[in-house]
Amino acid sequence: MSKVRSKIARPDIDAAQRGGDWSQRMNGEGQPADATLKQALYWRQIYSEILAMEEKVLARIRELMAAQSAEGRREVELTNVPVVVAQAERFRQRLGYWDARVLELRGETLQKP
């Protein structure tokens, strides 16, 4: 089988990189620094849920990847995995901001691991 190797535009991967921008907020989401405790708890809950969902999706991707051909697996590694990993990382980061804000408003400090 002849091999074709070229630099190809992948708008889906570009979208993944955009999705991984940590400063990107959700609709209606304000700055953590200006939030009340109620708002901070709300957004912490939102990010906890969406992060849990992304992690489940990633687990499912890895599960389904096992049944793919070598070519199929490469494609999934190139497209799906970075998309979900970038999104999850962004949600994890923003969850961290809201966690910190909740602790701050409660007068607690974040424990370093």
Binding site: M1, S2, K3, V4, R5, I8, A9, R10, P11, D12, A15, A16, G19, M26, N27, G28, E29, Q45, I46, Y47, E49, I50, M53, E54, K56, V57, R60, I61, L64, M65, A67, Q68, S69, E71, G72, R74, E75, V76, T79, N80, V83, V84, Q87, F91
Partner: protein
């Protein structure tokens, strides 16, 4: 005389590493068709998972997660187009030619003239490989005449099956209950 073709298509995804649509080996076409079929199945699995989970999220999170759905759906469309490209390449490599003007079908040296409706049905099913169409969809999309009776579809399917067999084209015109008709490539 023209090869098998489609109109109004979307943009296929870029080729995968090692994929060469100019191959002259039909085994290559079968190989890449199976890869794209698997990738589509994979994406359907992920899409179903995301759609199920997204329903449990609060509205702002649903909106953020919808970006995943858009990406997956766009990728699926791209894979579907590449799968279609490979089907058409496979038909070329198999020596299948269609002449819409004279409504002729030629396969590996054998040739037959089709009626207008036979040709439209065959062209429609070839243009939408590995997809199923109900009787009503065939009436509306293949013939653009929803006023025809469903029995007409069964009649033309029977006639088309005989033509496919006479020409030795390695496909089956299958009918799945609840899904409809589809041209399915024989794997043997």
């Amino acid at each position: 005389m023209t090869g098998v073709r489609r109109v109004g298509r979307r943009r296929p995804s870029p080729p995968l590493e090692g994929e060469d649509l100019n191959t002259t080996r039909w085994e290559d076409a079968r190989h890449w068709m199976s890869i794209y079929a698997d990738l589509l199945e994979f994406k359907r699995g992920i899409l179903a998972r995301v759609q199920r989970d997204i329903a449990n999220l609060k509205p702002p999170a649903q909106k953020a997660a919808a970006a995943d759905l858009e990406i997956i759906e766009a990728q699926m469309q791209g894979y579907q187009e590449r799968l279609d490209l490979w089907y058409r390449r496979l038909w070329e490599l198999q020596g299948l030619w269609l002449d819409p003007t004279g409504r002729m079908v030629r396969h590996q040296g054998r040739e037959v003239a089709l009626t207008k409706r036979e040709f439209q049905l065959f062209q429609f099913l070839l243009d939408h490989p590995h997809r199923y169409f109900t009787t009503n969809q065939i009436l509306g999309q293949a013939w653009a005449d929803p006023a025809l009776f469903p029995e007409e579809v069964r009649n033309y399917v029977r006639r088309l099956r005989k033509i496919l067999a006479d020409l030795g084209i390695p496909v089956d015109l299958v009918n799945k209950p609840g899904r409809g008709y589809s041209l399915v490539l024989r794997t043997d």
